[in-house]
Amino acid sequence: MKAFTYERAKDAGAAARAVAGRPGAKFIAGGTNLLDLMKIEVETPTHLVDVQDLGFDTIVKTADGGLRIGALVTNTNLAADARVRRDYGVLTRAIVAGASGQLRNKASTAGNLLQRTRCPYFYDTNMACNKRRPGSGCAAIGGYSRQLGVIGVSTSCIATFPGDMAVAMRVLDAVVETVDATGARRAIPIADFHRLWGDRPDLDTVLKPGELITAVTLPRPIGGKHFYEKVRDRASYAYALVSVAAVIQPDGTGRVAFGGVAPRPWRVEAADALLPQGAAAVTARAFRGATPTEDNGFKLPLATRALASVIAQAKA
């Protein structure tokens, strides 16, 4: 691990200024992904700003009947919140489908959104990777790509966003709230939060340097039955090959987003509208223009089958 200096910020403004004013500085919350990457020197921050004292660790009701989830609420506490379990079941289901109990106890809501890809070529510093070292190329293209993206990817990068929680948040139309070093606040719809790679796969999100996530808000509950169907190589503690987050209403309408397939949680609203016509209609629209590799083409029929399973459960 490269050497770094460390400070524990007293408030959000000080934290944002500390990172914005210093190239190479990073926020650290739970640290489960950042420290893992620092050990293999994929991440090499020169200064860490610890945000654990900023107080963003509660879940409160919003004026319009939704929930505001503090950026530092742990995955465990978010999944266990009685209001989330009752009204936003897809979110609890997605969180408990991810990582391990130990990691969920430490991982924060904001950090989970900011986790980096699990593409093996991003982790292997001997390999070309435009995300890790811009301009070096992409060893995943033409390489071993079974886990990698099938849509929204580019000729520079075919990595996926690996998380589960954000896929549920995409179905719930969550909004990411931030503050920057000047004190300016932004509310970023989760749909716009993660970038498509294009020719800048080194940039995962639309956040500016030093812009700090303070909370994630959920709109008022939308009812319906909530599902998170995750298909993976092990029954527990593995990344998704394909996952389906869905909220299905009694009349068969609803919303659906897919994980493990793209640089961001993949939802196409025009595909949502096809839910009453069945899984094949939805995935044909949602994955229009997909560019799978020989290794990961199976993800397309797998997405259809996973969604078919969800629709069958919703009807049961």
């Binding site: 050497a3 770094f4 190239p23 020169t46 489908a97 109990g101 990691l103």
Partner: protein
């Protein structure tokens, strides 16, 4: 001795050669993302409670909680397996919840209360989970066992507190300490000897429920 120096010399030469190559290869990337020089490591003070005892340390900020426990406090019961949060051998409890001590910096734990395997029980006075692991033969080589036991104790507490899991059908119901629940919740602890069935039996024994 002469032979050793020759080996060292040629090794140094090889390293110098590799470094030069690395510089040539790395050159194109330097115009893409120039990063400032890493600062020289300086020690930071931190104090926390380990197994009820207050400990004060001065640490390089890179020191993980795991290395602080093992290398600085000589509490070697907590094991280093993968050092990447994948195996669970380093599991300890911090302020009552289990975490991977390898994936957290010691300096981030100012004022925290940490419990390791040494704090759960002693050879003379075993924790019920330790006794149950012995009774049910919940290990073979024993390397993952401290992490398994810390995790197992925390899992039963999580079930008691109603923390939901992936295998729960009804999210609003209280979870029970069933075999399938314990297997799911223990998935962050790997045992290469494959003692999983006996670990689940030991946990069921402590939980007082039939698996």
């Amino acid at each position: 001795m002469t032979a050793v120096s020759e080996v060292e010399l040629s090794r140094r030469g090889l390293l110098a050669g590799s470094a030069a190559t690395a510089i040539v290869v790395a050159a194109p990337a330097s115009d893409a993302a120039p990063l400032p020089q890493a600062p020289a490591p300086t020690s930071l003070p931190v104090s926390f409670e380990v197994n009820g005892k207050r400990r004060e340390l001065s640490l390089d900020p890179r020191t993980t909680l795991l290395d602080a426990l093992r290398e600085h406090l000589q509490l070697t019961g907590t094991k280093k397996g993968c050092d990447h949060g994948q195996c669970g051998a380093c599991t300890v409890m911090v302020d009552g919840v289990r975490i991977n001590s390898c994936l957290t910096l010691a300096v981030m734990h100012q004022g925290d209360k940490i419990t390791t395997i040494e704090g759960l029980g002693t050879p003379d006075k075993l924790h019920p989970m330790q006794a149950a692991f012995i009774k049910h033969d919940g290990y073979q080589c024993g390397y993952c066992t401290p992490g398994q036991i810390c995790s197992a104790v925390a899992v039963l507490d999580e079930i008691k507190r109603g923390v939901p899991s992936h295998v729960q059908d009804d999210l609003t119901a209280k979870p029970r300490a069933t075999n399938v629940e314990m297997r799911e919740r223990m998935s962050g602890n790997i045992c290469r000897c494959g003692a999983y069935s006996n670990i689940a039996d030991a946990m069921a024994d402590v939980a007082g429920e039939n698996a």
